[in-house]
């Protein structure tokens, strides 16, 4: 019952302390981690965005350079000049030497006819009039195409400029080397999962992506979701991985440079931090749990001990109350019996007195009569002992305090009993501490207590045995123990030892008052009397008296 109360108390304490220590700990770590993760993510986004912008600037610059060189060439040459054999080849060499990145160069007249060409393909004399880019150049003057297959059936894109020469117009067209361009774009790719490619407005690849697809195939990215300038968004790819995409529009918003990266790759550091955090918090929690359980266990154990002590104290109190009540009753009974006893004693005495008269002396029954009267007297004496014992038990006498040397009292008592002990072959051993202080106590009452205890010891031993009398000083007490090697007190009697009239001696041999009187006396002297007994081994009574220093006279 009690145990259960303590268990539930322990559970409550553990639960509450866990809650109040875990909630702040965990919420703090979650908040800090989230803040940190957000910052980290922002930084990563910032980084990838920055890369995309830088890369798109580089590409833009590349294209501008190509346009510039092509425009310069067109402006500084005439159609006729260029149409002349080998001239365009020389020009192409100069351009590639200065800028590079061109595959071929061609001159197209206003009818769309390829008038001059230098490059790896056989494209001379082809007509481009119906090609979509031709119209664009005619109308805009400068044009960069999307990637297309064209006559050569190889994906490529071109830069074309139109020149108005007097009243005739012509077009100078160059193809950009896809390898050079792709490696330029690819320079933006980072790490194991990073990618960099260009898609056009319709979502078709303009360069080969590193993963999933090739040039001119449709990308799974929807270009319209990217905002103006450079933006970052997060998507989940087919493998279920989060991927960060940074898109930067270029070429007058016709192309979108995309730099992508799996979030997990950049996040590894963050994940490591998170793992560390989780480990730290978990071990902290474990430590807290262990500490709490350990300390509550300690507390509960202390409580249990205190509770047990209190119960024992209560039981003792009840016991003392019971003894007091019994004492009062005993005193009442003793008094009521004592008066008739006194009358009986007087009457008997008177009868004895009368027996000395002569007429009785001659009676045949004189001796019988005298014997009977003696017997009555003996039994009155026996009853008197009981009533006086009872009254002694109930006596609330203030102890008469004087300077008492406890060892001296013990010596006297032992000397007094030694002869009767020796008769029964009982040895009384003295083990008395020499540093006992003189205390303020009642010599006569203490002697009565020791006498009771030692007489009891002699009685229980019967014949052949040892009584060990020991005195010791502890901090604030003098402890006197009287140990016998008698048969011990049976368990069922142990709780009744200090009750008045409780005796295991033969009827008529003991009043059952010795120990209860001793108990009362020791209590009045503010001491305690306890015993330990083991059946078959013996009993030890211990009297503890407070060290009360006598007042100086």
């Amino acid at each position: 019952m009690r145990r259960r109360v303590f268990k539930s108390l322990q559970r409550k304490i553990v639960f509450i302390t866990l809650v109040v220590s875990f909630i702040p700990l965990i919420s703090l770590s979650v908040v800090i981690y989230n803040q940190f993760a957000q910052m980290f993510k922002d930084k990563i986004e910032e980084q990838i965005k920055y890369r995309a912008r830088v890369q798109s600037n580089a590409i833009e610059l590349f294209l501008k350079e190509r346009i510039a060189i092509l425009t310069v060439m067109a402006d500084t040459h005439t159609f006729d000049n260029l149409a002349e054999k080998d001239n365009i080849g020389r020009l192409f060499q100069v351009m590639n030497r200065r800028a590079g990145g061109f595959i071929d160069l061609g001159l197209i007249d206003s009818a769309g006819r390829h008038v001059a060409y230098t490059g790896p393909y056989n494209l001379l004399e082809l007509n481009y009039y119906s090609q979509p880019w031709f119209g664009e150049v005619e109308s805009k003057g400068i044009y960069i195409s999307d990637v297309f297959l064209g006559y050569r059936h190889v994906p490529h894109f071109i830069i074309a400029v139109r020149r108005q020469e007097n009243n005739r117009s012509w077009i100078l067209r160059a193809t950009i080397d896809p390898n050079v361009f792709e490696s330029l774009v690819r320079a933006g790719q980072v790490g194991k999962t990073g990618d960099a490619f260009i898609i056009n407005k319709a979502g078709f690849y303009q360069t080969n992506p590193r993963f999933n697809g090739q040039i001119l195939s449709k990308s799974n990215l929807e270009p319209t979701v990217f905002g103006e300038g450079t933006t970052v968004l997060e998507k989940v790819n087919r493998e279920g991985e989060k991927v960060l995409y940074a898109g930067s529009w270029l070429k007058e918003n016709n192309w979108l440079l995309v730099i992508s990266q799996e979030a997990s790759e950049e996040m590894t550091k963050l994940f490591r931090t998170r793992r560390m955090g989780i480990i730290t918090v978990t071990s902290g929690c474990l430590l807290i749990i262990m500490t709490i359980i350990f300390t509550t266990n300690q507390i509960i154990r202390r409580l249990e001990v205190a509770d047990r002590k209190m119960n024992e104290l209560n039981a003792q109190l009840v016991h003392t109350d019971k003894l007091a009540a019994l004492g009062k009753m005993a005193a009442g009974v003793a008094h009521e019996i004592n008066n008739p006893l006194a009358v009986i004693a007087e009457k008997t005495g008177w009868m004895e007195d009368l027996l000395t008269e002569e007429e009785f002396q001659n009676s045949k029954y004189f001796e019988e009569y005298k014997k009977s009267l003696k017997k009555i007297e003996e039994h009155v004496e026996r009853a008197r002992k009981v009533t006086h014992g009872m009254l002694g038990f109930a006596r609330r006498m203030e102890p008469h305090l004087e300077d008492v040397d406890v060892n001296e009292v013990l010596h006297q008592t032992i000397t007094f009993l030694e002869s009767s002990a020796r008769l029964n072959n009982i040895t009384i051993e003295r083990d008395l501490s020499s540093d006992l202080p003189i205390i303020a106590s009642d010599h006569a009452q203490l002697q009565q207590v020791f006498l009771n205890l030692m007489t009891n010891a002699i009685d229980v031993i019967g014949k052949d045995g040892i009584i060990h009398v020991r005195s010791r000083r502890t901090n604030s007490e003098i402890a006197i123990s009287i140990k016998d090697n008698g048969p011990g007190i049976p368990k069922e009697f142990q709780s009744r030892v200090f009750e008045p009239f409780f005796t295991t001696k033969q009827i008529g041999k003991g009043t059952g008052l010795g120990l209860s009187v001793s108990h009362n006396i020791v209590q009045n002297l503010h001491g305690t009397i306890t015993f330990e007994s083991e059946e078959g081994k013996g009993t030890t009574f211990t009297v503890k008296l407070p060290v009360v220093v006598p007042q100086k006279k």
Binding site: N339, V343, D353
Partner: protein
């Protein structure tokens, strides 16, 4: 064994008068008879008031006074006796083992105390002792008075 001692004692001390005070009539009567048999002049009183009346009329040498009585108890009676007749010696009798009362009685000038039921011989010894003290006291006083008279004349 008892007789020679008794004779010796009686031989030494004069006849003296004793007043027994106890409200237990049977006890009182029997004790009177027993003490009378031991050649003492004994009268009895059943309560404190009666005892005081007797003491005023014919002061005895020694009073044996029970502590617990109906009406005036032993201590009160003792006080009164000491007021009326301070030279009377008083022996307290108690069935009650309350030593406090006995000690209180001694402080009020009682000669000694005995616990009921008591041994008759013990009582007789105490009575004789009390009487002896009384005679010594009286002799001292008488002596002092003579000294004073002599100095006056």
């Amino acid at each position: 064994m008892e007789k020679p001692v008794e004779e010796q004692e009686v031989g030494e001390v004069d006849q003296f008068s004793v007043l027994l005070v106890d409200d237990e009539r049977e006890f009182l009567e029997t004790l009177i008879k027993r003490l009378q048999k031991r050649k003492l002049q004994v009268t009895g009183a059943g309560c404190g008031e009666e005892a005081l009346r007797i003491i005023k009329e014919t002061p005895p040498d020694v009073v044996v006074l029970d502590v617990r009585m109906q009406g005036m108890d032993g201590i009160q009676t003792l006080r009164e006796i000491k007021k009326v007749c301070p030279m009377v010696e008083v022996i307290m009798l108690t069935g009650h083992a309350s030593l406090e009362v006995a000690v209180e009685g001694m402080e009020l000038g009682a000669f000694d105390y005995l616990m009921k039921p008591m041994d008759i011989d013990e009582l007789v010894y105490k009575l004789e002792d009390a009487y002896k003290r009384k005679t010594i006291q009286e002799r001292k006083i008488k002596h002092l008075e003579e000294e004073r008279e002599r100095s006056l004349t």
